[in-house]
Subunit: 118 residues, 2 copies
DNA sequence: CAGCATCCGATCTGATACTG
DNA sequence: CAGTATCAGATCGGATGCTG
């Protein structure tokens, strides 16, 4: 993910962190608790291994996510939110809330009901 | 801006709306009040006319921004936030806040002071 | 199972030139 | 001043195959 070389405004930093098609949803999933890559890939519809690991790596670089590795076979790895990540999750949660409202106003209650969101 | 064809989660809708390098900063600027394209271009460092108008158009399609036109020459146009846009601005403001905190923790107080943010 | 490298098409962005 | 068209380069995203 290409980042700005310099920032005009702190807003842009936050935007860089959650930019990328999958970052918000990854954070959202991790908000439910630590998870392995394969578990995440199961939970996030449509994501491939490459994008998942790539974006997890970027979130790690931003200090939003941390990785734990365990010895032995089969390999076991666990990703989880850092404290910064938890704070960023507040933004994600707010985005979810607005998304729900916008969908309601747009007559998409059906979708929301199917997801158990209303 | 390419949008998802279908959504798994309301979060993704919100993400689509603020995706794009300039959308958050445009909303932020409009949060200060209605503005003409040329005024916005002055206030947003580095943006070109094409990107500005393109992203304003997309924000309009999402119902976040509205446009007012006046008759006569020189042409005069004013963009402003809609009610939905105002609500989205809450997200943007939260992004700004987190961005400020992250920069502080990252030792970039200098930058923030120069901007008058702390 | 976790992770990396590579290739390729789809998108995004920006510069420039042009219209009303 | 506002807005559109076009073109080229940079970036992104996804599929596939390979390694430990």
């Amino acid at each position: 993910m290409k980042m700005r070389n310099s920032y005009t405004c702190p807003l842009e930093l936050t935007h860089d962190i959650i930019r990328g098609k999958w970052k918000p949803i990854i954070l959202w999933q991790l908000g439910k608790g630590a998870a392995s890559p394969s578990a995440l890939q199961n939970d996030i519809v449509g994501i491939g291994q490459k994008m998942l690991l790539q974006q997890l790596g970027e979130l790690q670089n931003f200090g939003m996510v941390q990785k734990e590795q365990y010895e032995g076979y089969p390999l076991k790895v666990k990703y989880s939110l850092t404290e910064k990540g938890e704070r960023m999750l507040n933004i994600i949660a707010a985005m979810q809330e607005i998304g729900i409202e916008l969908m309601k106003e747009d007559g998409r209650e059906e979708f929301l009901k199917n997801k158990g969101l209303i």
